[in-house]
C-alpha cells in the first residue's frame, strides 16, 4: 500500500471510530481490507482507496471500521474482574438498590458476547439478585460481531477459554459440535450497535460499566472524551471496569482508581456533593 493511501485509512478510522492506526499496523490493512474491496466491487485495494478520497458510501466506511476492529475476547476474560463483580459489586448493589430492585450494566465493547454472558452467569450463580430487574446492555461498533453475540453459539475452543466446566454444563446446550447459550442467560442481554464517539445520553444511566480493552486503540484525547461521557452516564456510586493495560492516570480526573481493586475505577465526586444517599 502506498503511504498516501495509508493516510486515507488512518484519517478515516480516526475521524469515524477513534481508532488509532499506527504505521506498524499497516500490514493489517492489506489482509483485512482486501475482502472489503472485493465485497464492494473494487478490483483492487488501490481503487477502493481512490474512491475513499471522494464522497464514500457510509456503508463502505462502516465495513472498513468493522474490518479493522479487533474482536479478541473470551468468557471470564482475566478472571479477576468477574470475581470482583461477584464479591464487591453485587453485594454493593443489593445493599444500595434494594428499594428499586433494579440494576443496569453496560458492556461497552461486547464483541461476540462473551463478557455480557459471563456477567449474566455470575449473576445467576450468585442468586442474590433473583427477582430483580436486571438490564445488561451490550454494545459494539461492529454489527457483524453483534449478530454473533445475539446468536450465542460458540465453538468448543471458545467455550473452553476461561470458562469453568460447571458453567458450560449449566448454561449451555450442545448441538452437534457447537455450544448454544441457554435462553435464560441469552435473554438477560440487550445488544445494540453503538459507536463510543457518539452521544451516550440515549443509553441511560448505568450502575456498572465494563469498558475493557477498547480505550487502548484510542489516542489520549479520545480516551479522555469517552471517559468523560461514560462518567456522565454512571451512577455517582457506580463502578467502571477497564482492561488490564488501561488506566485513567494522566488521561482524565473524572475517575480514580478504586483502592485495592485492580482494574476498577470510581467516578470522582466533587467535595460539595458528597453525602448523597440513594
Amino acid at each position: 500500500m502506498r503511504i498516501e493511501d495509508f493516510d486515507v485509512y488512518k484519517d478515516l478510522l480516526m475521524e469515524k471510530s477513534g481508532l488509532v492506526l499506527t504505521p506498524d499496523k499497516s500490514y493489517l490493512l492489506d489482509s483485512r481490507l482486501t475482502p472489503v474491496a472485493k465485497k464492494w466491487g473494487f478490483e483492487t485495494l488501490d481503487k477502493m482507496s481512490a474512491a475513499l478520497r471522494g464522497v464514500a458510501d457510509p456503508g463502505l466506511i462502516k465495513d472498513i471500521i468493522e474490518a479493522m476492529t479487533t474482536n479478541e475476547t473470551s468468557f471470564f476474560r482475566d478472571t479477576r474482574p468477574f470475581d470482583t463483580f461477584r464479591d464487591v459489586m453485587i453485594p454493593h448493589i443489593i445493599k444500595t438498590r434494594g428499594a428499586q430492585r433494579k440494576v443496569r450494566i453496560w458492556c461497552a465493547a461486547a464483541s461476540s458476547g462473551q463478557e455480557p454472558y459471563s456477567l449474566a452467569m455470575v449473576i445467576k450463580e450468585h442468586g442474590g439478585l433473583n427477582g430483580w430487574n436486571i438490564e445488561i446492555v451490550g454494545t459494539d461498533i461492529s454489527t457483524d460481531i453483534l449478530d454473533t453475540a445475539k446468536e450465542g453459539i460458540y465453538s468448543q475452543f471458545e467455550v473452553q477459554r476461561g470458562m469453568p466446566i460447571t458453567m458450560l454444563m449449566k448454561y449451555f446446550e450442545q448441538v452437534d459440535e457447537k455450544w448454544h447459550i441457554k435462553p435464560e442467560i441469552k435473554n438477560m442481554i440487550q445488544y445494540r450497535y453503538f459507536n463510543l464517539l457518539d452521544s451516550m445520553t440515549g443509553l441511560g444511566r448505568f450502575d456498572i460499566v465494563f469498558c475493557r480493552n477498547v480505550l487502548i486503540y484510542f489516542d489520549r484525547e479520545t480516551k479522555g472524551k469517552v471517559l468523560g461521557k461514560i462518567k456522565a452516564q454512571l451512577a455517582p456510586d457506580g463502578y467502571l471496569f477497564l482492561g488490564g493495560a488501561e488506566t485513567v492516570i494522566g488521561i482524565t480526573d473524572e475517575f480514580q482508581a478504586a483502592p485495592d481493586l485492580r482494574g476498577v475505577y470510581l467516578p470522582t465526586t466533587q467535595a460539595a456533593a458528597a453525602p448523597k444517599t440513594a
Binding site: 471470564f76 478472571t79 479477576r80 468448543q156 475452543f157 473452553q160 477459554r161 476461561g162 469453568p164 466446566i165 460447571t166 458450560l168 454444563m169 450442545q174 459440535e177
Partner: protein, 124 residues
Amino acid sequence: MTKSCLVVDDSRVVRKVARRIVEDLGFTCEEAEDGQKAYEHCEQNMPEAILLDWNMPVMNGIDFLHKLREMDNGAYPKVVFCTTENDMDHIQRAISGGANEYIMKPFDSEIIETKFKQIGLLSD
C-alpha cells in the same frame, strides 16, 4: 515447594506437549501411559495435579478416577480430564466421578493455565 503433575495419556506426543505446558507453569511432570500405570504411580507418590485422558488401553481414565478417589489420600489431587470425548454425557460422568475440570482436545497452554487457576492449582 514445586507442585507435581501426572500426565496420563497413551499418546507419547500428547504427553510431550502436555509436559512442556505444565513445566512452563512451574510443575514437575511425571508421565503414565494408562490408568493402571497412573494408579501405581499414585500409590507411591500422590501428585498435586493429574491431567487425564479418557480412552486408554489396560485401564481407561474414568475407571482410574473412580479407583483414585477411593484411595487413602485419593481426594487430594486435582484431576483435569483432557480428552477428545466432547459430549455432555462424558462431561457429566467425569464431574460426578470426581473430576475437578474437563478439557476437550485440542487444547492449548492458555486453556490449561486458566483451568488450573480456576481450581486453585495456580494463583494469578
